[in-house]
Symmetry: C2
Subunit: 131 residues, 2 copies
């Protein structure tokens, strides 16, 4: 984007949201930016349950639980990029799972997260994973 | 994604499509994978025209014209990641524009492209750019 172009509201929100994720402040990011009826759409689930979860409180709890489920080796969050009311950002993590079907396995995860913003809040996060 | 999970049709198409892009075979990728009424949705336009373009022939011509508009220094296409009927992929390029409002300027572009697949063809490409 040319430096002279004004930053869109979506891009500004995206940068603030991703700053919190970069600091590991996921709970604060959810509190501040997620809509009450936010949806998380994963590409699949490991255990056969629905890959779609809904509701800020439910998702906040699931994220906190997930963050306890692995030993973190390294990871990061990229720079967000926007188009209209959506933004995309890269995330990666090298971790060893402590529980679940992949317990004991060290895994490098890379994903693209696509967020949709509605009325100033994140209404959906959709996660993309590769082969 | 666990190695044991079968590759989805979207992920298979994404990998074949991105292989062509990596080889610089954009025209062939468009011919093979774009639907006739495909849409390109850019985050903005430099010249005030609509950031949305439609139609395989129109877009193929615009892409060919764009690829003639810069001097290429380096660039690449990442690994595609999918969720349902969509896939996302990173693209980057270091180039100097030969014409247009940024003529003579060397520019590093990074973007995320989000493709939607419908009936086995790409029906939309949406491009995300950062600050």
């Amino acid at each position: 984007m040319p430096d002279t172009m004004p930053k869109s509201p979506t891009q500004s929100l995206a940068e603030e949201f991703c700053s919190l994720l970069k600091e590991g402040k996921d709970a604060e990011a959810i509190d501040k930016f997620y809509a009450d009826d936010v949806r998380h759409v994963e590409p699949f689930s490991f255990d056969g349950s629905s890959p779609v979860s809904q509701g800020k409180a439910t998702i906040k709890e699931a994220v906190a639980k997930f963050m306890q489920s692995y030993e973190f080796h390294s990871g990061g969050v990229g720079e967000p990029r926007s188009n209209g009311d959506q933004f995309a950002v890269e995330m990666w993590m090298d971790c060893t799972f402590k529980e679940g079907p992949m317990a004991g396995q060290r895994h490098e995860m890379k994903e693209t997260a696509l967020y949709t913003v509605k009325d100033g809040k994140i209404s959906e996060a959709r996660f993309f994973m590769g082969s």
